[in-house]
C-alpha cells in the first residue's frame, strides 16, 4: 500500500489548494456545515427546521450557480447538500453539480463528488449517463485512488445499458498488480453480474483466476460471484467442490494471514461464504456431500462457543449440514448445536436456535421434542420477535391433533400486535397453510363454520396488496393441488378450493391461459369420488369463471352432460342450467356476476320484503307456513365436530383370574400397583376384575415419571383405587392425587397439547424408558444381615399364543431371578391389576430360582404406547412388607396381530369402518424387491401385519388389535405407491387405532 501513497504524492502538486478544513476528520465548528448542524440541533420545532433548511438550500442554490465558486468550495457545498438530503429535503438542483465535481475536481473533490452522486442518484437516473465518461477516464487513470473511486462508484450504481462501455476496462483490472484494485474489480463484476448476467458471461474463466488469486481478499471477493452462480446452477460447478473444501480446510486450520482474523477467529466471513457455497453444492447430491463431511465436522469442532462470530459460523454450519445429503453423525452434532442455541440465555442465540429448529423440524418433527419446555417458555417471552419465531416453529409442526392449540396461540399473539405490518403477513400465511393442513387432514369431520370462516378471512379486508397476495397465493397453491392427485382431498377442502378458484382466479389470469383452471375444475367433476355437494360448488365456480371462449366451450360441454345425460340431482341440474345460460349470455353474466364488484358485499334485503306478495299468495293457496331453520334443525343430526381433546392414554387392563402355585404358598401377599395414565377422562370398565382409574393424575415430565417409579419404597404417584377384592390389608394406603396443578404443570400440559402427534403421544413421549428394570430385593439369608441383591428384572418377554377360551392373549413372562438362598423366603407376586400370576418355577437353574408369571394384558383403547407399572410386594415371614416398583412400556405393536382375511372380506370390512386417516409414508427401497413389496414386508416383519394382497402399485394389509377377549378390532390399510412415497389409507372401527398404527408404521419405515 505504501506505493499507493507514493504515487499519490507524486500527483500532489495539482492538489495543492486552500482548504480551511482541519485535518484527519475532526470537526471544525467554524465551517459552514458545522454552523448548519449546530443551528439545527438548537432548534426546537420541525417548523423551524424547515425554515432553516429552506434558507440553507436557497443559499446553496445560489452558490452552485455562481461561476465564481471554486471546486473546493463546491466540495464543501456538496457536503451540506448531502446533509440536507439526509434530513429529508430535496436538493435536486445540486445533482448536476455533484457530477460536475466528480468530473472536474481534484482527487479530494472528486471523492466528495462521487460520494454525492452515489447518495443522490439511482441506477435509473438519467444524470448517470453524464458520469460514464468520467468513470471511464478515472478507471484508466494512473492514480490508484482515482481508479479505486471509479470502481467503487461503478459497483454502487451504474446504468445497465452503459456496462459494455466500461466492461473491458474493468475486466483489465482483474490482472492489476494491486490487490485492492483486483478486489474492487471483482466486486464490480459481481455487481454487473447481478444486474446484467449475460454481459459478463464471457469472463467466467477470469473469475476462476480470481478464485485462485494469491491474495485472500481477492479470493474472498470472487466467492460472492461463485455463491450467486452456484445458487443458480449448482450442476455446472460441482467440480469446484474440492477446491472449496480445501480452501475451507485451510481457513479453518488457520492458514490465512493473521490480519484476516476477527476476534481471533480465522476469516469468519470467508468461512461462512464457503459454508453457504458448500450447502448449494451438496444439496441433494450424495457424492458431493461426502466430500465435505470431514471439513464440516472440523468447522463444527473448531468453532467453540465463545464469541458471537463463532456462533455465526456454527449456525451456518448447522444450516449446511441440514441442507446437504444427510449424515447421521453430523446431524446428531448439528442437533446438539441447535439445542445449545435454543437453551442459550443469550436472546439472539435463542432466536436463531428457534429458527434453526423451525428449519429442521420440517425434516424431522421429533427434533422439537427435547426442547418443548423451552419452546413453551419462548411462547410467553416478553420479546414479540421471539414469540413470532416460536409460532413459526409451531406452525411447522402443526398436525391434525395440535392445530387447535396452535391456532389459538397464534390468535392470542395477533390480538396483541394487530397493527404490525409484518403480522398481517403472518396471519395470512398461518391461516392459509394451517387451513390447508387442517383441511387435508381433518377434512370431512370438521365443523362447517371453519371453512366458512376461512373463506371470510380471504374475502374480507381492504383490497390492498397483501390481501391480493394472499388470495393469489391461495389460488396458486390450490391450482397446484388440483394438478396433483385429488382423490385424497376431503370433500370440504375441494369445496373451499372451488370457491376460491371461482372467486379469485382472475388474479392470475395474466400469467396463465384462462382455460386451465376451468379444465382442472372440469376434471374434478369427472372424478367418481367427488360428492354431489362438491360438484355443485364446482359448477358455481365455473359459472364465475366462464368468461373466455375456451372456458365457455368447456362449460357448455359440462352442462350438456349434466342436463341431458339425466343427472338426477336437482341442485346439480339447476347449477348446470345457470352455467349454461350465463356462459352463453355475456351481458347477463356481467350483470349477475360483476367482475369489479365482487369485493363489495351486495345489499341484501334481509327481510325479503319483496317476496311478501308471493308468500301471501302462496299461503292463500294453501301452502304450509314457513318453519324457521331453528325449528327444522332439531330433526337434523348434529354434524360431527373435530375432536379437540388430546388423545387420552388409558391403560385398561383386563384381569383374568389367577392362581398362585408357588412351591410354597406365599405367606402374605400385598399388592398394589402403579399404573400410569394421562387420561383426564375416566375409563370406566365393567366387571369386578376391572380397574377404575379414578382421579389418576397426569404424571409425566422430562424425567419425572420413571424416576419416581424406580425409587422403591415410595408410593407411586399415580395411584389406583382398587375395587378389587384381591386388595390385601397390607396394601399401602392409597393416596389421593395432589389437587391443583403445579406451576410447571400448566406449561407441561400446554406442551402436551402442542406436541401431541409428534413422535408418540403426549405423556408417553416425555417419559424416558429404560430397557431394563432393576429390582432391589432384600436378601434375607440371615435374619440379622440384609444384603442388597440386585436382581435383574428382565423386560417382559411378550409372546402371543392362542388360548382355548379367551381367544388370544399376550403372555407376559417375567423372569425373576434371585439368589438361591433367599428364594424360599421371598414370595413374589405381580400386582393383581395386571392380573397374575403363576409363580411356579418352570425350571430350576442352578443357583437361581426362576419363576414365570403369566398374565394377560390387552389394550382397551388404541394408543401408541402404554406404560405398565407395578409395585411388587413381598414379605418375609418375620419381616416387614417390602415393595419394589417396576415399570415398562408396551408399544402398540406388541398388541397387533395379523388379521387373515380374504380380499373379498377386506372389501366388505373397508366400507363398514368409519375412522380413517390418510398419510404419505416413506418407501423402502431394496435392490431385489419392488419398493411396494419391500415396504409392506418391512411393515409385516415389524408390526405383524398381514399382507392380504398386492395388485400392481396397490397393496392391502390387515391387522387386528388385541383388545379384550375375542378376535380384537381390525385395522385395514390400503397402500398405494404414489410418486416417491407410499400413500397409506387406514380404516378401523376404533377411533384412535389408525392414528396410533400410522405412527408405528412411520417409525418402522424410518428405522429400515
Amino acid at each position: 500500500m505504501s506505493d499507493v501513497v507514493e504515487k499519490t504524492l507524486s500527483a500532489l502538486p495539482s492538489l495543492l489548494s486552500l482548504d480551511s478544513q482541519a485535518g484527519a476528520g475532526k470537526l471544525s465548528p467554524s465551517s459552514k456545515l458545522g454552523n448548519l448542524i449546530k443551528g439545527i440541533t438548537e432548534l426546537t420545532s420541525k417548523h423551524e427546521e424547515e425554515t432553516l433548511i429552506k434558507k440553507e438550500l436557497e443559499s446553496i442554490k445560489e452558490q452552485v450557480a455562481s461561476p465564481n465558486t471554486t471546486m473546493r468550495q463546491m466540495k464543501e457545498i456538496m457536503v451540506r447538500a448531502i446533509y440536507c438530503e439526509m434530513l429529508g429535503y430535496q436538493a435536486s438542483f445540486s445533482y448536476i453539480h455533484a457530477i460536475k465535481l466528480a468530473q472536474q475536481g481534484s482527487v479530494l473533490e472528486k471523492r466528495v463528488g462521487y460520494l454525492a452522486v452515489s447518495l443522490f442518484l439511482n441506477e435509473t437516473d438519467e444524470f448517470l449517463l453524464l458520469l460514464v465518461n468520467t468513470v471511464l477516464k478515472d478507471l484508466q487513470s494512473t492514480n490508484l485512488i482515482e481508479v479505486c473511486m471509479a470502481l467503487t462508484v461503478v459497483s454502487q450504481m451504474f446504468p445497465k445499458d452503459m456496462i459494455p462501455a466500461i466492461l473491458p476496462v474493468v475486466e483489465e483490472k482483474l490482472t492489476h498488480p494491486k490487490e485492492i484494485i483486483r478486489r474492487k474489480a471483482v466486486l464490480a463484476l459481481y455487481k454487473f453480474y447481478l444486474i446484467a448476467p449475460n454481459q459478463v458471461q464471457h469472463i467466467h474463466s477470469k473469475f476462476r483466476k480470481a478464485l485462485c488469486d494469491k491474495d485472500p481478499g481477492v479470493m474472498t471477493a470472487s466467492l460472492h460471484i461463485y455463491l450467486q452462480l452456484i445458487k443458480e446452477n449448482p450442476e455446472s460447478y460441482k467440480d469446484l467442490t474440492g477446491s472449496m473444501v480445501t480452501i475451507l480446510r485451510q481457513v479453518v486450520g488457520g492458514k490465512l494471514p493473521l490480519d484476516f482474523n476477527y476476534h481471533s477467529v480465522p476469516a469468519p466471513w470467508l468461512q461462512i461464504q464457503l459454508l453457504r457455497i458448500l450447502a448449494y453444492l451438496g444439496k441433494e447430491d450424495q457424492g458431493t456431500s461426502e466430500m465435505m463431511y470431514d471439513v464440516l465436522e472440523e468447522s463444527l469442532r473448531r468453532a467453540e462457543m465463545n464469541h458471537n462470530i463463532t456462533y455465526a459460523i456454527l449456525f451456518e454450519c448447522v444450516k449446511t449440514i441440514y441442507t446437504v445429503h444427510p449424515k447421521s453423525q453430523l446431524l446428531e452434532k448439528a442437533a446438539e448445536c441447535i439445542g445449545n442455541f435454543v437453551l442459550s440465555p443469550k436472546i439472539n442465540l435463542k432466536y436463531l436456535g428457534l429458527k434453526a429448529l423451525t428449519y429442521v423440524v420440517q425434516q424431522d418433527a421429533n427434533l422439537a421434542l427435547p426442547h418443548q419446555m423451552t419452546i413453551i417458555e419462548c411462547l410467553d417471552h416478553s420479546d414479540v420477535i421471539i414469540k413470532r419465531e416460536t409460532l413459526e416453529l409451531l406452525f411447522r409442526i402443526t398436525n391434525a391433533q395440535n392445530v387447535t392449540v396452535i391456532v389459538e396461540k397464534m390468535l392470542e399473539f395477533l390480538r396483541l400486535t394487530c397493527d404490525d405490518y409484518s403480522t398481517i403477513d403472518l396471519v395470512g400465511k398461518v391461516a392459509e397453510l394451517t387451513m390447508n393442513s387442517v383441511f387435508s387432514l381433518g377434512g370431512d369431520v370438521m365443523q362447517p363454520d371453519i371453512p366458512n370462516n376461512f373463506l371470510r378471512l380471504l374475502a374480507e379486508g381492504v383490497d390492498n396488496v397483501e390481501d391480493r397476495q394472499l388470495r393469489l397465493f391461495a389460488v396458486d397453491s390450490y391450482v397446484s393441488l388440483l394438478q396433483g392427485e385429488t382423490a385424497k382431498l376431503p370433500q370440504r377442502f375441494l369445496q373451499v378450493i372451488s370457491w376460491v378458484l371461482g372467486e379469485y382466479s382472475y388474479l392470475r389470469e395474466e400469467e396463465s391461459d384462462p382455460g386451465s383452471v376451468m379444465r382442472l375444475l372440469a376434471r374434478l367433476l369427472d372424478q367418481r369420488h367427488t360428492s354431489t355437494e362438491t360438484r355443485s360448488w364446482v359448477l358455481g365456480a365455473m359459472t364465475k369463471l366462464c368468461s373466455s371462449p375456451v372456458s365457455v366451450a368447456l362449460a357448455r360441454d359440462v352442462c350438456e352432460r349434466y342436463l341431458y345425460s339425466g343427472s338426477l340431482n336437482t341442485v346439480l341440474r339447476q347449477k348446470a342450467q345457470e352455467l349454461m345460460i350465463l356462459s352463453q349470455d355475456t351481458k347477463l353474466r356481467a350483470r349477475v356476476l360483476p367482475a369489479e364488484g365482487r369485493l363489495e358485499s351486495p345489499e341484501v334485503d334481509s327481510s325479503l320484503s319483496f317476496l311478501d306478495g308471493y308468500v301471501s299468495d302462496a299461503l292463500a293457496a294453501g301452502a304450509a307456513p314457513y318453519k324457521s331453520p331453528h325449528q327444522r334443525q332439531e330433526d337434523l343430526v348434529q354434524e360431527k365436530a373435530l375432536s379437540l381433546e388430546p388423545y387420552g392414554l388409558s391403560l385398561p387392563v383386563s384381569l383374568s383370574s389367577c392362581s398362585i402355585t408357588d412351591r410354597r404358598s406365599p405367606t402374605l401377599l400385598s399388592m398394589s400397583s402403579g399404573l400410569s395414565g394421562n387420561s383426564t377422562e375416566l375409563s370406566h370398565q365393567e366387571g369386578s376384575t376391572t380397574l377404575k382409574l379414578e382421579g389418576v393424575k397426569r404424571v409425566w415430565g422430562k424425567d419425572g415419571y420413571l424416576a419416581q417409579q424406580q425409587s422403591a419404597g415410595e408410593t407411586p404417584t399415580p395411584l389406583v383405587e382398587l375395587p378389587s377384592p384381591l386388595l390385601s390389608p397390607q396394601s399401602p394406603p392409597s393416596q389421593k392425587p395432589s389437587s391443583g396443578l403445579e406451576p410447571d404443570q400448566e406449561k407441561r400440559q400446554l406442551a402436551s397439547s402442542l406436541f401431541v402427534g409428534l413422535g408418540s403421544h403426549n405423556s408417553v413421549c416425555l417419559v424416558r424408558l429404560p430397557s431394563t428394570v432393576w429390582l432391589f430385593i432384600k436378601n434375607c439369608q440371615s435374619a440379622n444381615q440384609s444384603n442388597v441383591v440386585k436382581s435383574l428384572f428382565k423386560p417382559f418377554y411378550i409372546n402371543s399364543c392362542q388360548s382355548k377360551n379367551h381367544g388370544s392373549f399376550v403372555k407376559v413372562s417375567g423372569i425373576f431371578a434371585a439368589r438361591k438362598s433367599c428364594q424360599t423366603d421371598d414370595s413374589c407376586c405381580f400386582p393383581p391389576q395386571i392380573s397374575c400370576i403363576s409363580g411356579s418355577p418352570l425350571k430350576e437353574v442352578k443357583g437361581h430360582s426362576v419363576s414365570v408369571c403369566l398374565h394377560t394384558v390387552v389394550m382397551k383403547r388404541a394408543s401408541v404406547q402404554v406404560e405398565l407399572a407395578g409395585l411388587l410386594s413381598y414379605q418375609r415371614p418375620l419381616g416387614q412388607p417390602q415393595a419394589a416398583q417396576f415399570s415398562l412400556s408396551l408399544s402398540l405393536k406388541h398388541f397387533l396381530r395379523p388379521l387373515t382375511v380374504s380380499t373379498g372380506d377386506y372389501g366388505k370390512m373397508w366400507l363398514s369402518f368409519s375412522h380413517d386417516l390418510k398419510q404419505n409414508l416413506r418407501l423402502v427401497t431394496t435392490e431385489h424387491q419392488e419398493p411396494l413389496t419391500a415396504t409392506l414386508d418391512a411393515l409385516k416383519g415389524k408390526l405383524h401385519l398381514h399382507v392380504v394382497d398386492i395388485i400392481g402399485s396397490e397393496g392391502i394389509v390387515a391387522c387386528r388389535l388385541l383388545q379384550g377377549p375375542g378376535q380384537g378390532q381390525p385395522c385395514l390399510l390400503h397402500c398405494r405407491v404414489h410418486a416417491d412415497s407410499l400413500a397409506v389409507w387406514l380404516r378401523s372401527p376404533v377411533p384412535e387405532l389408525p392414528d396410533s398404527l400410522l405412527y408405528h408404521c412411520q417409525k418402522a419405515l424410518t428405522e429400515t
Partner: protein, 151 residues
C-alpha cells in the same frame, strides 16, 4: 446481500444512510420511518433481529447511536451483527473513540470508511488493517494537501 444501512440517533434523527440496491425515494423515506419506529420501540435486552417485509433487519445500539441494516432472507444475522461491529471498530480506529458527534460532523468520512468496508452490499474487505490502510492512504493525501494552507 445487504440492502441498506442506516445510522440514527435515539431521537430518530438519521445520521447516515447507505442504500445498496436501487430504491425509489418514497420507499426510502418509508423504510427510514419504519426502521426508526420499529427499532426505537424495542425494549432493551430484546433480540437484535427483526422482520420487515421480506427483509431481515439487524440492529445494534452503540452508545446513543443505532446501527440498523436490512438483509436478504438467506443472510446470517449473527454475521451481520459482526459487520456492524466491525464498522464501529473501523470508525473507532479512525476517529479515536468515536462518538455520535464525530459522525454528525464528519459524516462524509464515515461514508468513505463504509465504502472501503462494504461494496455493493457485500463485505469487501474483512481485514481491518487493509481497510484502515486504504482509508489512511486517501487521508494522507488530504493531510498533505492541506498542510500548505496551515502555513
Amino acid at each position: 446481500m445487504m440492502h441498506f444501512l442506516l445510522l440514527f440517533s435515539r431521537q430518530g434523527k438519521l445520521r447516515l444512510q447507505k442504500w445498496f440496491t436501487p430504491i425509489p425515494e418514497r420507499e426510502k423515506k418509508k423504510i427510514v420511518r419504519d426502521m426508526t419506529t420499529m427499532v426505537l420501540g424495542r425494549k432493551p435486552r430484546s433480540c437484535n433481529f427483526l422482520h420487515w417485509k421480506d427483509l431481515k433487519i439487524v440492529y445494534k445500539k452503540y452508545a446513543s447511536l443505532y446501527f440498523c441494516c436490512g438483509l436478504d432472507a438467506e443472510e446470517n444475522e449473527l454475521l451481520a451483527l459482526e459487520v456492524l461491529h466491525r464498522y464501529v471498530e473501523l470508525l473507532d480506529k479512525y476517529f479515536g473513540n468515536v462518538c455520535e458527534l464525530d459522525i454528525i460532523f464528519n459524516f462524509e468520512k464515515a461514508y468513505f470508511i463504509l465504502d472501503e468496508f462494504l461494496l455493493g452490499g457485500e463485505v469487501q474487505e474483512t481485514s481491518k488493517q487493509v481497510v484502515s490502510r486504504s482509508i489512511e492512504a486517501s487521508d494522507m493525501l488530504q493531510e498533505v494537501s492541506e498542510r500548505p494552507c496551515s502555513r
